[in-house]
């Protein structure tokens, strides 16, 4: 049972860790797929969400 719970915990921690790493190294779509001339200002309040 301890091994099973340890595996579940590790899976959860690894998943959260990967999400944090990816969110750090990846650009939001509002930046990655727009030229600097077309970027919206203040994305959190402008049509798309803060992580859009």
């Amino acid at each position: 049972m301890k091994v099973f719970l340890a595996a579940l915990l590790f899976a959860a921690v690894a998943a959260v860790g990967v999400s944090m790493i990816l969110n750090t190294i990846q650009e939001p779509s509002s930046v990655a797929f727009a030229t600097s001339g077309a970027r919206v200002g203040d994305p959190g309040n402008n049509l798309i969400g803060p992580n859009g």
């Binding site: 091994v3 595996a7 690894a14 998943a15 797929f33 030229t35 077309a38």
Partner: protein
């Protein structure tokens, strides 16, 4: 030919009208085009799509750094959509429901595979802690990946009518997040599993004999010799490795959709991901069945790590001999489960 003055008078209004019309047409070319009724004669979408051949695309020019956005119309996308809406549910239904039906019939006809000699009360270590950790890491991720993946394919048909749109959308959003991020510990478990168990899963001649004798499962009281993993377990191992690798590679392209060369390649990977997923889930149902209700004493191997010595002798006789030769086997008293 002489023309009478009355004839000239009759033609005068017509000549005037014709000259006026010609003047209007020359002055406003657009007015002339209107006579072709563009809304009726223009290319219709259906005709346009039907005229495009396999692999054709209508593309445009874009200035944003997203090359795929330049594909405006890709007729192959209709086949892809048709696959996901019509063919995939059939493949999934046949694979998963078919496997469940087979296992149910097998349980009804064959019953549980019992320990023929009865429990000995002595146990032998089958899997060390790290092996069980790796198994449960991969297995727990697989269960979440499978359920959240099935929700993508079947949720709209099966769950949406039960939960309603708001609850279904919220659940699907969290399921998608779990699917995306638990894929990474799943891939990690897959790699570790391969490294620690591949040496015991190389196919050998002995496996053919095991298969010929029905693996000691089809026929009551007959137990062909096997080393640490028998042919059935080796089959499951290689299914996990091959299918798991295909799911990982295709899933990687779905996670990072700008890695494939174009939309068509991405669509091919989604089809591979979906079909392998259905087959993978069906195969794992058989694995779960034989590791739990299908075979008495089998769950202990991954539960506590220790199995009854008689169980081990019946299903892995050569492995028990090897372990006993090393002095590892049959030293731990084990409580016999009440039946």
């Amino acid at each position: 030919m002489p023309v009478s003055s009355s004839t000239l008078k009759a033609l005068l209004p017509w000549t005037f009208c014709t000259a006026l019309a010609l003047l209007l047409v020359l002055a406003h070319p657009a007015a002339a085009q209107l006579s072709f009724k563009p809304t009726a004669e223009a290319v219709q979408e259906d005709k346009l799509l039907n005229a495009l051949k396999e692999g054709d695309k209508i593309t445009g020019r874009i200035s944003i750094p997203d090359a795929m956005a330049a594909s405006l119309i890709q007729p192959a996308g209709r086949d892809w959509r048709d696959f996901h809406r019509r063919k995939l549910p059939v493949i999934g239904g046949v694979a998963i429901l078919g496997m469940l039906a087979l296992l149910t019939i097998f349980l009804m006809v064959r019953g549980r595979v019992r320990v023929h000699q009865g429990f000995s009360g002595t146990s032998i270590l089958r899997f060390a802690s790290f092996e069980r950790f790796t198994h449960w890491l991969t297995a727990s991720c697989f269960v979440v990946l499978a359920l959240s993946g099935l929700n993508i394919s079947f949720g709209r048909i099966l769950i949406l009518p039960l939960f309603g749109p708001e609850a279904f959308a919220t659940m699907s959003a969290y399921a998608k997040l779990a699917h995306d991020y638990l894929a990474f510990p799943f891939m990690m478990g897959l790699v570790i599993m391969f490294l620690i168990w591949v040496k015991d899963n190389v196919p050998r001649k002995l496996d053919l004999e095991w298969l010929k004798q029905g693996g000691g499962i089809l026929f009551e009281g007959k137990h062909p010799p096997a080393r640490r993993f028998n042919a059935g377990q080796k089959g499951i191992f290689w299914i996990v490795i091959v299918f798991g690798t295909l799911m990982s590679v295709s899933g990687w392209f779905l996670l990072f959709p700008y890695l494939p060369a174009n939309v068509t390649v991405l669509q091919v990977w989604t089809v591979i991901h979906a079909v392998i997923a259905m087959l993978f889930i069906a195969a794992m149902l058989a694995h779960i069945y034989i590791g739990s209700i299908g075979m008495e004493g089998a769950f202990d191997a991954m539960g506590t790590g220790e199995v009854d010595l008689n169980w081990a002798k019946e299903h892995h006789s050569l492995w028990v001999e090897e372990e006993q030769a090393k002095g590892h086997a049959g030293s731990t008293p084990r409580p016999v489960a009440a039946e």
